[in-house]
C-alpha cells in the first residue's frame, strides 16, 4: 500500500521547489486516491508483472555518436539575455551556502 497523506505530498511539492494552497492540496489528495486505486487495479491484468518496462515507443537503437568537434556556441549576450540578474557577464544569485 502506497502512503500518500497530506504531509507526504506536501514534502513532495516542496522538494519540487514550489508550494500550493491547502485547497489545492485537498484536490490533489483526491486525485492521489483515484490514481493509486487505478494503478493497484492494474495488477489484475494478466502478464503485467512478466513484461519488461518500456521507455521508448518501439524497439529503437542507434549506433550514432557525435564526432568530438567543438562548434560555435552562443554569444555571451545570448546566454545571459533571459537572465534577470547579471553581473560581470555572469548570472547573479543570492549567496549560495554549502
Amino acid at each position: 500500500m502506497l502512503k500518500y497523506d497530506l504531509e507526504t505530498i506536501k514534502k513532495c511539492a516542496n522538494n519540487l521547489m514550489f508550494d500550493m494552497t491547502d485547497e489545492q492540496y485537498e484536490v490533489l489528495l483526491g486525485e492521489f486516491k483515484t490514481i493509486i486505486k487505478e494503478m493497484e487495479l492494474l495488477d489484475e491484468i494478466e502478464g503485467v508483472n512478466d513484461i519488461s518496462p518500456m521507455t521508448f515507443p518501439f524497439d529503437v537503437t542507434t549506433s550514432y555518436l557525435r564526432e568530438d568537434e567543438a562548434l560555435t556556441c552562443l554569444d555571451k549576450e545570448e546566454v545571459l539575455k533571459n537572465a534577470k540578474e547579471v553581473l560581470d557577464g555572469q548570472i547573479k544569485l543570492p549567496k549560495v551556502v554549502g
Binding site: L16, F32, T34, M39, L42, M54, K84
Partner: protein
Amino acid sequence: MYLGKTIEELHELLVSKKVTPLELTKEAIEALKKDQTNALETLCEKEAIEFASSLIEPEVDNPFWGIPYACKDNFSTKGILTTASSNILKDYVPVFDATVVEKLKAAKAVLICKTTLDELAMGGTGTSGHKGITYNPYDPSKTYKIGGSSCGSASVCAQGIVPFSLGSDTGDSVRKPASYAGLVGVKPTWGRISRFGLFPFAPSLDHVGYFTRSVKDSALVLSLLAGEDLTHDATCSTKPVEDYYSLINGDIKGKKIAYIKEINEGIKDQCIKDKFNECIDILREKGAEVNEVSIDKKILSAIYPSYMVISCAEATSNNANLDGIKFGPRVGEVSTYQEVMINARTKGFGELIKRRFVIGSYSLLSANKEELFIKAQRIRHLIVDKVNEVLKNYDAILAPCSGKVKSPIVNNSDNIFSDIDVDSMIIENHLGIGNFAGLPSISIPVGIDQGMPFDFNLTCKAFDEVNMFNLAYSLEKELNLVNLSTVKKVNE
C-alpha cells in the same frame, strides 16, 4: 478574400501571381486581430510583414513559398517570445529556432503568430493556459471546448486564417482538438519529425504534430518537416523521407482495416455510430477489408492511469529547468537561491501543472517507483504489444476520436479522473495508444452534427505514413469533407 483556402489552393494563386505573400500575410494578420477565440499568444506582425515583403519571385516547386502559418507557443522561435502559455515563461525570448521552424523558414513559409495551449502542453481541454480558455470557433456560444493542448493552433486553422498550423501531441493534443475543430490532425511516427526546439512535456510520448484542412496538405507538410536531425535530436530517425503527397493515389484495394470493439462501445452519440458504419461501408466499397477485433477492456482502461503516471513523471523532470535562474521571473525579495526557485515556480506554474508534477515526482520516488512508474511502463509495453499484434494483420486501426461530437467546457474539467464510466474512459483516451507505441496517426473530419464537426482517427504501423495518408484521403474524398472552416458556410 483568401481565407479558408488550402496550401494547394494558395500555392496556385501565389504562383500565378494572383496574390502576393504580403497580401496573404496582411489578410491573415487582420483576421487574427479580430479573433474571438483567445487563440493568440503573440502576433508576429512586424516579422511576418517584413519576411513576406521579401518574397517576390514565386517558387513553383515549393508549395510553402509565401504560405502563412501559425505555431503553437511551445516551439522555440528565435527572437520571438515563447511562453508555452505559462507564467514561468511569460517573458522568455528564445535564442534559437526549433528545427521545424527553421525548416519552414527555409521553405519561406511565413510565421504569423504563436498560439495558445494548455499550460506547458499538459492538458487536453484548452482551458489551462495563462491567458485563460481558448474557445471553439464553431461554437459562438462558447459552451463547447475546442480541446487541447494545441487549442490555439486548432482554432486559427479552423477559422481559415492559416492553411496549416504546428502543434504537439503527447496524448492526443493534436488529434483530439482536430476532431472538435473539424481539421485534419496528424502526428507521425515517433522520431519522424525532429523535436529539437519543442518544449518537452514527456519526451518518450512527445511528437511534433500539425493541423491542415486537407489530407493532401497534410502529406505536403510531413514531407517538409520530416527527416533526420543528427546534430540536435538523436532520437529522430534517419530513415529516408518519402514523397507522401505524390504517393497518394486513392487506391486502397486489398488494404485491411481493423476497428476495436471495446473502443466503439464508448460511442455515446448516434450520429457517430451511424457515421462509423457509413465509413466501414465506404472502405469496403473501395475494396478494403474491414474487421472488428477485440482487446481486453482491462488493458484499454489502463491507458489513462499509466499515461498519467508516465507523462507526469517525465514532465516533472523536463520542467525542472524552469527555476527562475537562467530565464523566467525573479519574484519578490530573495535571500537564498532556494527562494529564487520557490518563488518563481510557486508563482509561475498554474495549479493543474503543480498537481501533475507532484503526482509525477511521487511516482518516481524509490519507495513508489516500482508500484507506479515501472508498473505504468510495463502496462505501456503490454498495450503496445497488443496494438502491434493487431497491426501485424492490419494496415490501420479506425476509431472515433471521441464518444461525443461535442464536450462542454467545465470549470475543473482537468481534474484527473472526473467520474466517468469505463467505456467513456476508454474512448476518450485511446488516442494515447499512438503515443505509447509511437505510431503514425491521423484524425480527419467525417461528419458535422448541428454545426459541430467531428473526426475519426486512423492509426497505422510505425513509419507507414504512406498508407496512412492514402487511407485517409480515400475517406476524405468519399465523405466530401475537404477543407472545412468557419469561413465557409458549413453544410449539414
